[in-house]
Symmetry: C2
Subunit: 101 residues, 2 copies
DNA sequence: ACAGTATATAACCTCATGGTAATATAGTTG
DNA sequence: CAACTATATTACCATGAGGTTATATACTGT
């Protein structure tokens, strides 16, 4: 069991609609460069850059340079499942079915 | 799909180690009164009360009065699974197996 | 009604966060 | 190397969150 501080950090990084949107985009796309993300989420360039930094520091995404562009990808693909999980939690009330533990 | 704002609120409510600990306690116990939670999480009475209010406002817990005591329970039991999910995400990297969607 | 217990709320401080506009950095192209 | 593009960082402001202590509320038992 990873410690509560660490988990809290992951949740904190996810605690913003724009960052959730970015996670969804990356979950659907393998990899996206910042210049694609900016118009899709409709936030300013500096804000997108900072949101990405928050996600990166939480270990949720990683980046690689490709020429001028920086491409981001999910490194914790499970978070996309968490979102899906939550959808189901809020409509019916069981989700993420895992029998053991 | 519930909207991003709503999901962000749930994540925000979970973005604190003490609140995560409370969620774990409630996940294991059906229902606990505040006076039991306080010594278990080792925070002050007002802080526990406020953390519980945050969780309540996010729809994660609910309360009922029983005499002098106030008893809290999980209303979004899925969140306990999210925590478990995250444990597995951080060690191996797949979790929350759901084939459809 | 009074004293006591359990919980919630308020007042206050400090620090973190989200936001904007301006600037720096790094790579590309002529 | 100068001009350009993509991204990151900084400075700054306003707001919100976490924390403490003090106080209010609500119920209980006498």
């Amino acid at each position: 069991m990873i410690d509560l501080e660490r988990k809290a950090k992951v949740f904190k990084a996810l605690a913003h609609p724009t960052r959730l949107q970015i996670v969804l985009l990356l979950a659907a796309a393998e990899e996206k460069c910042v210049c694609e993300i900016i118009p899709l989420v409709g936030a300013s360039q500096p804000m997108v850059s900072r949101h990405l930094a928050v996600l990166r520091e939480a270990g949720i995404v990683a980046s690689r340079k490709k020429g001028l562009e920086v491409h981001y990808r999910l490194t914790l693909p499970c978070v996309a499942k968490l979102l899906d999980c939550l959808d189901h939690a809020c409509t019916r009330d069981s989700c993420c079915a895992r029998e053991e533990l």
